[in-house]
C-alpha cells in the first residue's frame, strides 16, 4: 500500500447570499512519505480543500479517504499549521503546545515532556513561558509547527505557513521544515502544503498539484526531480526548468 490519502471527486459550493463555487471535482492521491504542494492563485479553493482534508469542513459531494477510511471529522492523525499561526493568545508557548496533548488524553507530565521536546526541535527552548504577543512572527509559526507535530500526526497540513512572514525568516523556516520532514526518527512523514509561491513549491515538494482559479480544479501536476537537499541546487538548470513549467501551467489556468 503506497497511498495514504485519496481525494475523490470533491466539490464544494458556498452559499453566502451569492453562490461561490470553490471546488469542482477535485481528485488526487498522496503517497506515503511524500511532500506534496498544492499551488494556485488566490481564491482557487486551496484552503477549502485543506480544511476538507482536515475534517473541518465537509464536501458537497465526493470524499476524502485516509488509510481506507472516510474522513468526516477532525482526527489527531491529521493536524494543521495555519497561515495566521492561530495560537491561543492567552496561553504561553509551552501551554499552546501542551494543551492539545492534554485534551487528547495525555497526562500532564507526558504532555509537558513532549511539548518541551518539540519546542526544542523548533529551536524555541528558553521561550517556553512567553506569550504569543511577545514572540516574533517566525517564532509564532515555530510554536504552531511544534503544536501540530507534537500530536504525532501521520499527515501534516500546512496552509501557506510562510506567507505572513518576511522572506529571510521564511527561508530559515523552510529549511527547518525540510529537516523535520526528512528526519526518520519523527513519526510525521507526510506533508501537504498550500502555497502561491512558485519557487517555494519547487524547493519543498516531491510533487506539485496546480489548481485553477474559481471554481478550483486541478489543471496540472508536476513531479520535481531536483535532487535534495534542494537549497544546494537553487541555481541548477533543473530547478529553473521546474519553475518555468509551473509558471506556464499557472498562466494557462489563468487564461482558460
Amino acid at each position: 500500500m503506497t497511498v495514504i490519502l485519496e481525494v475523490q471527486n470533491v466539490s464544494k459550493t458556498y452559499r453566502n447570499g451569492a453562490e461561490v463555487k470553490a471546488l469542482e471535482n477535485v481528485s488526487f492521491i498522496v503517497n506515503y512519505d511524500e511532500f506534496l504542494c498544492i499551488i494556485g492563485p488566490s481564491g482557487c479553493g486551496k484552503s477549502t480543500l485543506l480544511r476538507i482534508i482536515a475534517g473541518l469542513d465537509r464536501p458537497d459531494s465526493g470524499k476524502v479517504i485516509f488509510k481506507g477510511k472516510e474522513i468526516t471529522s477532525p482526527t489527531p492523525k491529521i493536524t494543521m499549521v495555519f497561515q495566521s499561526f492561530a495560537l491561543l493568545p492567552w496561553k504561553t508557548a509551552l501551554e499552546n503546545v501542551e494543551l492539545p496533548l492534554v485534551v487528547n488524553g495525555y497526562t500532564k507530565d507526558e504532555a509537558r515532556e513532549r511539548a518541551m521536546k518539540y519546542l526544542k526541535m523548533v529551536h524555541l527552548d528558553g521561550f517556553e513561558n512567553v506569550y504569543p504577543h511577545d514572540l516574533s512572527g517566525g517564532m509564532k509559526q515555530r510554536v504552531g509547527l511544534a503544536r501540530a507535530l507534537a500530536l504525532h500526526p501521520e499527515i501534516l497540513l500546512l496552509d501557506e505557513p510562510f506567507s505572513s512572514l518576511d522572506e529571510l525568516t521564511a527561508k530559515d523556516l523552510r529549511i527547518l521544515l525540510l529537516k523535520i520532514w526528512s528526519d526518520p526518527t519523527l513519526p510525521t512523514n507526510n506533508f501537504i502544503m498550500i502555497t502561491h509561491n512558485v519557487e517555494e513549491a519547487v524547493m519543498m515538494a516531491d510533487r506539485i498539484i496546480v489548481m485553477s482559479p474559481r471554481p478550483g480544479r486541478i489543471v496540472g501536476e508536476l513531479k520535481v526531480n531536483v535532487p535534495r537537499p534542494r537549497f544546494e541546487h537553487l541555481r541548477d538548470k533543473e530547478f529553473f526548468e521546474a519553475v518555468d513549467k509551473l509558471l506556464e501551467m499557472l498562466s494557462i489556468s489563468e487564461y482558460k
Binding site: 477532525p74 492561530a86 493568545p89 492567552w90 494543551l99 487528547n104 506569550y131 504577543h133 500530536l151
Partner: protein, 542 residues
C-alpha cells in the same frame, strides 16, 4: 424581517390603545394614548437636545486639547454618579427655583438629559479619537482642512457611532422615563403627565394592575416600533454604504483580539467606550492608593469635622448629618446591597457564558440571540418594576415580593450588557481559533475554559463593569417602594438613600451617594482595573 416587526408592533400598539380606551375600567385609561404621546414628545425633544449638545461639545472636546482636558473628566465624573440618587435633590432645588409645573417639567428634562447625554458625547469623542493617524496624515498631505475636513473626515467617522449612541440613548430615555415622571421626596410625590407616571400611579397609588400592565405594554411596543422603524434602519443603511475605516470604534472595544472586525450594525458596543475612556483616564491620573486614601481621608474628615462643629459653625451641618448615620447599619446594609448585586451578577454571568458557548458553535443560535436581545433590551426595565411588584404583592408578603422584584430588576439591568458583549465576542472569535479548537478536539467544559472564557475575557470585563453600573441605579430604584399607604424596604444602601430622600434629608442623601460613588470607584480601581491590566498583559485589547 424588520418590516414585519414594524407591522406587528404597530398593529399591537393600536390594539392595546383601543383596548385601553374601551375596556379598561380605570378612570384615567381613556387618556393613555395622550399620555403616551406626551412621553414620546418629551423624550424626542430631550433626545434632540442631547444629540445637538453631544455633537457640538463632543467635537470640541475631541479636537481642542484644552477643552478636552476640562470637559472629558467632568463628564466622566458626572456619568459615574448614579443619576437616580441625586435626582430627588435636584428636583427639589429646581422646584424651589421655578415653582409649579414648569419646575417639575424642567427637572424631568434634566434627568432624561443626563440619562441620554453621556453615551452620545462619549460616542462622538471616541469615534473622533479612533480616526487612524494615517487618515489624518493623508488629509493634511492633501491639504484638507477646516470645513472640508469636518465634512469628509469627522462627519463620516462619527455617524456610525452617533447612530449606535442614539439607539442607546433612546432606550435609556424610555427606561428612565418612569423614574423621571414620578418621584417621591419628603413625603410628597411629584408627577408630570406621561405614560411613566401612568404606570407608577396605577401600580403604586390607585392600584389597578390591569391598567398598569397595559401601560407597560404600550411603552414596550413604542420602544420596539421606534427601534425598528428608525434606529435599525439607519444602522443598516450606514453599515451598507459606509465601511468606515474597517474598524468601528465600539466594536473595537468589545473586540477581544486585535485583528478582528465586526459589522457596524450592532449598537450596544458604544457604552464600552464610555467606561473605557473613564477607566483609561483613571489609569493615567492617580494610583489606586491615592484614590483609596482620599476616600478614607474624606470619611475621617467628615467625622473630625463633625467634632469640630462647635468651633466652626459651618461644620454643624456635617455634625448633624453624621449624627444621623448609624455606622454599623451603614456598613451592614452596604454589604447586603453588594451581596444582592453579586448574586445576581454571578447568575447573569453564568447565563451569558452559556449563551457564549452556544454562540461559538452555532450560527443559528447567533441569529436567534440577536432577535431576543433586541426585544429584551427594548423593555424599559425600570417601568417593569412597579407593576411587577404590585402584582407580586397579591401573592406574597411585601418584603419577599420586593426582594424578588429587586432580583429580577437587577438581573434585567445587568444581563444585557454582559450577554451582548460576551456573545458578540464569542461569535466573532477568529475563524482559525474556532478551527484550532475543533481540530484539536476542545469540547464542552474544556471549550468553555480554554477557548470561550479567555477569548471573551475583555468582553466579560467591559460587560461586567457596565452591568455593575446599571446595577447601582437599579438598587436605588428597587430597594424601597411606597405602595398605597405602605412603605416596603429591603436592608441595603439603596433603601438608606431612599429613606433619607423620603424624609427630605438632602445632606444624608448626599452622604449615602458619596459612599455609593466611593464604592463604585473603589470597585473600579481594585477589581476592574486589575482585570483589565491582566487582560492587557496577555496582549489582548479591551
Amino acid at each position: 424581517m424588520g418590516r414585519y416587526i414594524i407591522l406587528i408592533s404597530s398593529v399591537l400598539l393600536a390594539l392595546t390603545l383601543i383596548y385601553s380606551y374601551f375596556f379598561l375600567s380605570y378612570s384615567d385609561a381613556k387618556m393613555l394614548a395622550v399620555y403616551a404621546l406626551i412621553s414620546l414628545g418629551r423624550i424626542t425633544i430631550v433626545f434632540a437636545i442631547s444629540l445637538v449638545f453631544g455633537v457640538c461639545v463632543g467635537v470640541l472636546a475631541a479636537l481642542n486639547k484644552t477643552a478636552g482636558r476640562i470637559i472629558i473628566p467632568v463628564f466622566d465624573i458626572l456619568q459615574s454618579v448614579p443619576i437616580l440618587g441625586y435626582f430627588p435633590i435636584l428636583l427639589v432645588a429646581i422646584i424651589a427655583a421655578f415653582p409649579g409645573y414648569l419646575g417639575r417639567e424642567l427637572a424631568v428634562w434634566i434627568l432624561l438629559f443626563t440619562a441620554m447625554e453621556w453615551s452620545i458625547f462619549f460616542g462622538v469623542v471616541g469615534s473622533i479619537r479612533a480616526i487612524p493617524p494615517s487618515v489624518k496624515e493623508a488629509a493634511s498631505t492633501f491639504n484638507i482642512r477646516g470645513y472640508a475636513y469636518f465634512k469628509n473626515v469627522i462627519l463620516p467617522a462619527i455617524i456610525p457611532a452617533l447612530i449606535s449612541a442614539s439607539t442607546l440613548a433612546w432606550n435609556d430615555g424610555w427606561t428612565f422615563d418612569i423614574a423621571a415622571e414620578f418621584v417621591s421626596y419628603n413625603g410628597q410625590s411629584y408627577a408630570v403627565p406621561g405614560i411613566g407616571s401612568f404606570i407608577a400611579n396605577t401600580s403604586l397609588v390607585n392600584t389597578n394592575l390591569q391598567a398598569a400592565w397595559t401601560g407597560l405594554l404600550v411603552i414596550g411596543e413604542i420602544v420596539v416600533l421606534t427601534n425598528q422603524a428608525v434606529w435599525h434602519r439607519l444602522a443598516d443603511r450606514v453599515s451598507k454604504h459606509r465601511p468606515i475605516f474597517g474598524v468601528h470604534i465600539p466594536e473595537r472595544i468589545v473586540h477581544p483580539l486585535r485583528t478582528m472586525r465586526m459589522p457596524a450594525r450592532r449598537i450596544f458596543g458604544l457604552k464600552f467606550r464610555v467606561e473605557f475612556l473613564g477607566l483609561s483616564r483613571f489609569r493615567n491620573s492617580f494610583s489606586t492608593k491615592v484614590v483609596a486614601s482620599a476616600f478614607i481621608l474624606s470619611l475621617i474628615g467628615l467625622v473630625v469635622a463633625s467634632d469640630l462643629s462647635e468651633l466652626v459653625p459651618a461644620f454643624s451641618i456635617i455634625s448633624q448629618t453624621m449624627a444621623q448615620v448609624n455606622i454599623v447599619e451603614t456598613i451592614l446594609f452596604t454589604l447586603f446591597t453588594l451581596g444582592r448585586l453579586f448574586v445576581v451578577y454571578i447568575f447573569a454571568l453564568f447565563v451569558s457564558l452559556m449563551a457564549a458557548l452556544a454562540a461559538s458553535r452555532s450560527k443559528r443560535f447567533r441569529k436567534i440571540f440577536y432577535t431576543i436581545y433586541d426585544t429584551g433590551r427594548a423593555i424599559p426595565y425600570l417601568a417593569l418594576f412597579p407593576p411587577l411588584f404590585a402584582t407580586l404583592l397579591q401573592v406574597m408578603p411585601g418584603e419577599l415580593g420586593l426582594e424578588v422584584s429587586s432580583f429580577f430588576l437587577i438581573f434585567m439591568g445587568m444581563i444585557w450588557y454582559i450577554i451582548y458583549n460576551v456573545v458578540t465576542a464569542a461569535s466573532y472569535l477568529p475563524e482559525e481559533l474556532k478551527e484550532v479548537s475543533e481540530l484539536f478536539g476542545f469540547r464542552g467544559f474544556r471549550r468553555l475554559r480554554d477557548i470561550v472564557i479567555p477569548s471573551t475575557l475583555p468582553a466579560i470585563v467591559t460587560g461586567s463593569i457596565l452591568a455593575w453600573g446599571g446595577g447601582w441605579n437599579v438598587i436605588i430604584y428597587s430597594e424601597y417602594v411606597t405602595q398605597g399607604n405602605n412603605v416596603y424596604s429591603l436592608p441595603g444602601l439603596g433603601s438608606l438613600l431612599d429613606n433619607a430622600a423620603a424624609a427630605g434629608n438632602s445632606y444624608l442623601v448626599i452622604f449615602y451617594l458619596f459612599i455609593m460613588s466611593g464604592i463604585v470607584i473603589l470597585l473600579g480601581r481594585l477589581v476592574w482595573r486589575r482585570l483589565i491590566e491582566r487582560v492587557e498583559r496577555r496582549g489582548l485589547e479591551i
